[in-house]
C-alpha cells in the first residue's frame, strides 16, 4: 500500500526557509536618468523605511551633481570655476580627489572633463555626429584633469578652480557608482542587509550577501560567466545601448579623452572592485584602454577583476581577481 504524501505545511511563499531568500523585495527610485534599486529578502521589509531613506541618497546626489540641473552645485562649478575658485563641500572634494587619482592611475583614460568632446560629437543630445576637425581640436583643448585645480581657501573649505575657460566637469562615469556606494553604506548602518544595490544594472554593490552570494548575470554569449557576488561592487561599460551610425560606421558613446575619438575595440567591460565608484570608473577606463591598460592597473590595484568582451569575439578575457566574487559558467 502506498501511503499518501505527508501534507506540506502551508507557508507564505516568502517565509520558506532555505539558503537563498525565497522572495526578494525590490524598492526603487528614479534618479540620474535611471532606476536605483535595492533588492533584499522580503523578510527584511521591516527595514523598508531605512531602505527608502537610503535610496534618497541617489536623489540627493542627483540634485547636487547633475550637470543637467542649472541649480546644482556642479553646474555652479562649471559656470564659475574658470573665473575664481568655487567652494565645494567635503563630499564633492573627496570624490574629485578620487577622480584625479583614478585619472592618473589609468593614464588619463578615465577623465571627468570630456563634456566638450561629447558636445562636439553631439552625444549630449543623443543625436551623434562626426565633428569637424577644428571643432574637435577646440574641444580637446578643454579636456584633461590638468585643467582642474583642487584647493582650499581658509574658512571656505575646499575649492575647485579651472585653469582655463571651457572646462566642464561631468560625473557621468562615476556618479552612479558613487551613489550606489552611498546607498550601500546607509543600508549597512541601518542593518538593512543583506541587500543588493544597483543603478540601471551598470553599477552594482553588495551590502552583505546571502550565504551563497548574489548571482549576477552578465550580458554576452555562452562563454560569458556569471558572477556570484558576496562583497564588493560591479561596474559595466559598453556601447551596445548608446551610440550612433554615420557614413556606415558605428560610433559608441564612450569617448577616449586621449584622442577625442569614440573608444574602439571593446563591446563591453565589467569590473569588480571594492567600491562601485571605482568599478564604474575602471570599467570606463578599461573600455577605452583595453587589456593593456587593464593589465597595468590591475598590477597595481589588487582586488580588481576585469571581464573584457572584445569586439567580434565570443570569448571574454578575464583578468585579475577579487576576493568577494567567484565566476560561474553560464552553461552547466
Amino acid at each position: 500500500m502506498i501511503s499518501p504524501p505527508a501534507p506540506r505545511p502551508r507557508r507564505a511563499f516568502w517565509r520558506t526557509p532555505g539558503r537563498r531568500p525565497a522572495a526578494l523585495a525590490r524598492l526603487s527610485v528614479r534618479a540620474m536618468a535611471c532606476r536605483f534599486e535595492v533588492a533584499l529578502p522580503v523578510e527584511r521589509l521591516d527595514r523598508r523605511v531605512a531602505v527608502q531613506a537610503a535610496l534618497q541618497e541617489a536623489t540627493r546626489l542627483d540634485e547636487r551633481w547633475s550637470v543637467f540641473r542649472p541649480d546644482s552645485l556642479l553646474a555652479a562649478v562649471n559656470r564659475q570655476a574658470h573665473e575664481r575658485p568655487v567652494p565645494v563641500d567635503a563630499e564633492l572634494a573627496a570624490l574629485l580627489a578620487l577622480c584625479t587619482r583614478l585619472h592618473e592611475d589609468t593614464g588619463g583614460a578615465f577623465d571627468i572633463t570630456t563634456t566638450p568632446l561629447s558636445r562636439a560629437w553631439r552625444l549630449l543630445e543623443r543625436a551623434g555626429e562626426v565633428p569637424e576637425p577644428e571643432a574637435l581640436s577646440q574641444a580637446r583643448a578643454c579636456v584633461g584633469m590638468a585643467h582642474v585645480e583642487l584647493g582650499r581657501s581658509g574658512d571656505a573649505g575646499p575649492t575647485v578652480r579651472f585653469r582655463r575657460p571651457g572646462v566642464e566637469l561631468n560625473l557621468g562615469a562615476i556618479g552612479k557608482g558613487y551613489a550606489v556606494d552611498r546607498i550601500a553604506v546607509r543600508l549597512r548602518a541601518a542593518g538593512a542587509t543583506p541587500a543588493l544595490v544597483s543603478a540601471a544594472g551598470s553599477s552594482i554593490a553588495a551590502a552583505g550577501a546571502p550565504p551563497d552570494g548574489w548571482l549576477i548575470a552578465l550580458r554576452g554569449g555562452p562563454e560569458t560567466p556569471r558572477l556570484r557576488l558576496r562583497a564588493g561592487a560591479v561596474g559595466t561599460t559598453g556601447t551596445a545601448e548608446q551610440g550612433f551610425t554615420a557614413g556606415g560606421v558605428r560610433y559608441g558613446h564612450v569617448l577616449d579623452p586621449r584622442t577625442g575619438e569614440p573608444a574602439r575595440g571593446m563591446t563591453r567591460v565589467t569590473v569588480v572592485a571594492d567600491t562601485a565608484a571605482e568599478a564604474d570608473a575602471l570599467s570606463t577606463a578599461f573600455f577605452i584602454g583595453g587589456p593593456d591598460l587593464a593589465a597595468r592597473v590591475i598590477a597595481r590595484h589588487p582586488h580588481t577583476l576585469a571581464i573584457l568582451q572584445p569586439d567580434g569575439s565570443a570569448v571574454p578575457r578575464i583578468m585579475g581577481d577579487h576576493p568577494g566574487v567567484t565566476l560561474e559558467a553560464t552553461c552547466t
Binding site: 507564505a12 511563499f13 516568502w14 537563498r20 531568500p21 525565497a22 522572495a23 526578494l24 523585495a25 525590490r26 524598492l27 526603487s28 527610485v29 528614479r30 536618468a33 535611471c34 532606476r35 536605483f36 534599486e37 533588492a39 529578502p41 522580503v42 523598508r48 527608502q52 535610496l55 534618497q56 536623489t59 543623443r126 552612479k176 543588493l196 544597483s198 543603478a199 540601471a200 544594472g201 551598470s202 552594482i204 548574489w214 548571482l215 549576477i216 548575470a217 552578465l218 550580458r219 556569471r226 558572477l227 560591479v234 559595466t236 561599460t237 559598453g238 556601447t239 551596445a240 545601448e241 548608446q242 563591453r268 565589467t270
Partner: protein
C-alpha cells in the same frame, strides 16, 4: 492610460502582492466561485436578441448550468448564426421564434437572456417576468428611468431573478481589486476616479439585410439601416453613455459604495455628422458624496487611451485597463518610489549591463508575466452565476438596484449634456419610486 513597460511590471506586481491571500481569489483569471452542476439540472434558457452581444453570451453557456431551449430574433440571419454557435458547441438545436411573446407562450424556458436594442429592454423584461421567467438582461438596464423602475418593481413583485449584464461584476480581477485593494484601504482616501472609453471609429455598422425585401417596420424600425445602426438613433439608444459609460459608472458605484448625487456634462456630434442622433463625444463629471468625483470621457476620434477605470487615492493608484489588466502604484515618500516583490528562483538576481539611453530600466530578473482577468470567462461566469441564483439562490452580482444606480446616473448625464446644466441624480430617481 499610457504605462511604460517598467510601470506595467511594477504595477502588476504591486497589484498581485496586494491581492495575494484574498480568499477565493488567489487564482486570478480562474473561474469565479460558482459551482455546478446545480440541483434541479441545467436551467432551460431562452435567448432574445442574437446579434453580436447575444451570441457572445450564447458562446459562453456552460452546459453544467444551462441548456438553450429557445432562440428568438426578428432577424432570421441572426437565428441562423445562433444555430451555428449551438452546433459548434455540440448543443442540441433550439426552436426559433420571431416574437418573444410567442416564445414565452410556447417554449420550454425557465429563464430568458435578453440582448436586444436598449429601447426594448423594459418591455421584454417585464413581459418575461410577468410570464414567470427569470431574466438576465444585457446592460444598460433600460432606455429611461421609468423603464428601469418598471423592471425593478416587476422583479420585486414577482420575486423572480432579474440580473443586469455587467460582465465586470463577474470578472475575478475586479473582485480581487475590490477585496484586495479598495476594501483594505490600500489607496487611502480616494477623491478621484477617471473612467474613459476612447475609440477612433464611427460606430456605424455596415451589413446586408437578411433578404432584399426584409422589412423591420413592424418592430418600429423604418428600414434595415435603423435596425442595423440602432445605437446611433435616440429613439432606440442612449449613445455612448448607455453603451460604454454605464459599465464603468457601475464599477465606480461599486468601489465607492455610493451613487452619484449630481452630474455635469457636455458633448455633441462633433466628428461624424452623418445623420446620427447620438453624440460622438461626451464628457461627464459625476459628483459622489464625500467630495468624490468620477470623470468620464468617451470620444470617437482617438483610441490612444483605449479604456480603463482608475482610482486615485492619497496612498495609491489603482488602474484597471481593458477589463484584463490591473496595476497598483503606491504613493511613496517620493512619488517615483516603487516596491515590487519577486520570487527568488535559482536564476540571477540582476543582470549587469551597460547603461542605457534615457529610460534606463536596470530591470532585475523578471518574475514574468502575471495573471490577468479573462473577459470571456467573465461572460461565462455571468450566465453561470445567473443560473446559480435561480437554482441555489446565490446572491446576484448586479441586480436591479445596483444596475439602476448606474443607469440613472448615465441617463441624468444625458440630460445634463442636453440642458447644459448640473442635474441632480438622486432626486430624479425618487420621482419614479
Amino acid at each position: 492610460m499610457h504605462l511604460t513597460p517598467e510601470q506595467q511590471t511594477v504595477g502588476r506586481r504591486n497589484f498581485l502582492k496586494a491581492v495575494a491571500g484574498v480568499p477565493a481569489l488567489a487564482g486570478l483569471g480562474a473561474a469565479m466561485a460558482v459551482r455546478g452542476p446545480v440541483r434541479g439540472g441545467p436551467v432551460r434558457l431562452g435567448f432574445v436578441g442574437l446579434g453580436g452581444e447575444g451570441r457572445v453570451l450564447l458562446e459562453q453557456v456552460d452546459p453544467a448550468f444551462a441548456r438553450v431551449t429557445a432562440l428568438c430574433d426578428i432577424n432570421p440571419a441572426q437565428l441562423a448564426r445562433a444555430d451555428e454557435v449551438l452546433a459548434k458547441h455540440h448543443a442540441p438545436p433550439a426552436p426559433h421564434f420571431v416574437e418573444y411573446a410567442d416564445m414565452l407562450r410556447s417554449a420550454d424556458v425557465e429563464a430568458v437572456v435578453i440582448a436586444t436594442p436598449l429601447w426594448t429592454h423594459a418591455d421584454i423584461t417585464t413581459a418575461c417576468l410577468e410570464a414567470g421567467k427569470h431574466v438576465l438582461c444585457e446592460k444598460m438596464m433600460a432606455w429611461d428611468v421609468e423603464g428601469c423602475a418598471r423592471m425593478r418593481d416587476t422583479a420585486r413583485r414577482t420575486g423572480l431573478v432579474l440580473e443586469i449584464g455587467y460582465q465586470r461584476r463577474y470578472n475575478a480581477m475586479y473582485h480581487a481589486a475590490y477585496e484586495g485593494v479598495i476594501r483594505r484601504g490600500l489607496l487611502g482616501d480616494v477623491y478621484l476616479s477617471r473612467i474613459l472609453w476612447h475609440r477612433n471609429g464611427n460606430w456605424r455598422r455596415r451589413g446586408d439585410p437578411p433578404s432584399p425585401d426584409y422589412d423591420p417596420s413592424a418592430w418600429g424600425y423604418p428600414d434595415w439601416e435603423h435596425l442595423l445602426n440602432w445605437r446611433l438613433y435616440t429613439r432606440y439608444s442612449r449613445g455612448l453613455l448607455a453603451e460604454l459609460a454605464s459599465h464603468q459608472v457601475n464599477i465606480v458605484n461599486w468601489f465607492f459604495d455610493a451613487e452619484p448625487d449630481a452630474v455635469l456634462g457636455s458633448g455633441g456630434i462633433y466628428r461624424h455628422r452623418d445623420g446620427r442622433e447620438v453624440d460622438d463625444h461626451v464628457y461627464v463629471t459625476f459628483e459622489y458624496p464625500g467630495g468624490r468625483t468620477a470623470v468620464f470621457s468617451s470620444i470617437e476620434s482617438n483610441a490612444f487611451d483605449h479604456y480603463y477605470e482608475a482610482f486615485f487615492g492619497t496612498k495609491g493608484t489603482l488602474v484597471l485597463r481593458g477589463e484584463s489588466e490591473a496595476y497598483l502604484f503606491h504613493e511613496g515618500s517620493g512619488a517615483q518610489e516603487a516596491l515590487a516583490i519577486t520570487p527568488a528562483g535559482p536564476g540571477p538576481v540582476l543582470e549587469a549591463s551597460e547603461s542605457r539611453a534615457a529610460d534606463a530600466a536596470g530591470a532585475g530578473a523578471d518574475g514574468g508575466q502575471t495573471g490577468s482577468g479573462d473577459r470571456l470567462a467573465a461572460y461565462r461566469a455571468e450566465i453561470s452565476g445567473f443560473c446559480s441564483a435561480i437554482r441555489a439562490g446565490t446572491p446576484l452580482r448586479c441586480g436591479a438596484d445596483a444596475a439602476m444606480g448606474s443607469a440613472v446616473a448615465c441617463l441624468r448625464a444625458l440630460e445634463a449634456i442636453e440642458r447644459k446644466a448640473r442635474v441632480p441624480i438622486r432626486a430624479g430617481q425618487q420621482e419614479h419610486t
